[in-house]
Amino acid sequence: MNLMGELVINKVRLEQIGQTHRLAELTETLEQMDRVTTDLQNIVMKVRMVPVSAVFNRFPRMVRDISKELNKEINLTVEGEETELDRTVIDEIGDPIMHLLRNSLDHGVEHPDEREAKGKPRTGEVGLIARHEGNNVVIMVTDDGAGINADIIRKKAVEKGMISQEEADKLDDADAVRLVFLPGFSTAEKITDISGRGVGMDVVRSKIEALSGHVDVETKIDEGSIFKIKLPLTLAIIQAMLVKVQEEMYAIPLGSIDSTINIQPTDIKTVRNKEVIVLRGEIIPIIRMEETLQVPHVKDSDEIFVVVVHAGEAKAGIVVDNLIGQQEIVIKTLGNLFAGLKMFSGATVLGDGRVALILDVATMMQQ
């Protein structure tokens, strides 16, 4: 896979050389090579894609066994088994999912009697759902169990000296629940065979992050929890639009781009102090990349380019100084030193040897 990446980088470099020298024969050969590498890449990709059913298959059995052991009544629903993922991801994803499922079974879903007392059906529902979301595959483990109590999490974290009382008080509920992903955290009152040994969620998280994925949790007390794993569809190569902001280059994945437009400064209107543009009757909020990313200002530009992007249902226009063009890029992770930096999903090496950061559109829109 790395070799494929190197090949693409070199192909792009050759293309750039070809453009500067403009030799007819060279251009022709390059076009030929471009077709061949693209085909080769597609084949390599296809060979590497495996449906998630390869890992999902073993879970119904496991859930049955565990629920018997725990004396719980549980119904597992599996959806989206046909969703395909890169082979390397599939190999690694089994353990984290198994862990999340065990957690849901053990701590999530309550005992049948307890459920009845709460007015829920005796049988707990656990879901394992895979689906595409843009350039990502999302795998969710859901349960309709007890949910996670943010206050208990806060208390535990303080008790274990992981955070101070002040820090705990400052966290909102959603962030407090995310503390379960810290190393050495276990809220189970008693340790069981199945989970609660304190080596859990942090391992899940580090494994997912090693695959350049992301794991998050949503929970509501007595309604259940959703653990959401987001993984890049392909580990290595995507199509992206390269944009220039002042002197810096960034890559925006083509999968999240709707369109690009060239507008006049006067086209930007404000609605309640927020800048927007009107595009085909739709009002789209704009994000000025220069300000959001604190890019050093070198010169004023007279033209404004807007890259209209989407994340889920939401749309936004990202203002950039120039569009460089569409290119295949090879995703490289930024590494541990930048853990916690969600704004970028990675970096890529451009044809000229420089490094450009790849924008995570969803995170940018939340800012």
Binding site: I9, Q294, G335, L337, A347, V349, G353, V355, L357
Partner: protein
């Protein structure tokens, strides 16, 4: 504690170190941690990263973070010169490039390095140091790489 650190950084007698300059002082890291020394190349800034992380560079197709060692140690920044080098180091699984003012040479430090805790009154930044080597009167300040690049969350 100091002994432990020394052991981790290979501070035994007769160790080889790569010596480099930060302002007027000479620093060193064990040669076993150094992967290569590179000339200064274009550094791509990474927004929202810690101040001392200058950005990332392309190291033969992979992406390598680069830190400003002076800033990390709490020394004032100086402009880059033609002597500025990027020393790429490995520690555990981390690969990081460190910007230094100049690389001087590879030295062998004989004898026991002086314990920093005794030599220097404890001041901020001293957790980054693991000892001081004496080579014919030249003092080489040995760095504790684990603290410098391993322990970077929120500091």
């Amino acid at each position: 504690m100091a002994n432990e650190e020394n052991k981790k950084n290979g501070m035994d007698e007769g160790m080889q170190v790569v010596a480099f300059k930060l302002r007027d002082e000479e620093y060193g890291v064990s040669i076993l941690n150094v992967q290569e020394i590179r000339n200064l190349t274009d550094i791509t800034r990474v927004p929202f990263a810690a101040d001392f992380i200058k950005g990332v560079i392309n190291l033969r197709g992979s992406v390598l973070p680069v830190i400003d060692l002076k800033q990390r140690l709490g020394l004032a920044e100086t402009p880059y010169t033609e002597n500025t080098r990027i020393v790429t180091v490995n520690i555990d699984d981390l690969h990081v490039g460190m910007l230094v003012d100049a690389v001087t040479e590879v030295l062998t430090i004989d004898g026991k390095p002086i314990d920093t805790k005794k030599a220097i009154n404890d001041r901020s930044g001293s957790r980054f140091l693991s000892g001081i080597g004496n080579v014919d009167g030249r003092l080489i300040i040995m760095l504790n790489l684990e603290e410098i690049i391993g322990n970077t969350d929120g500091k």
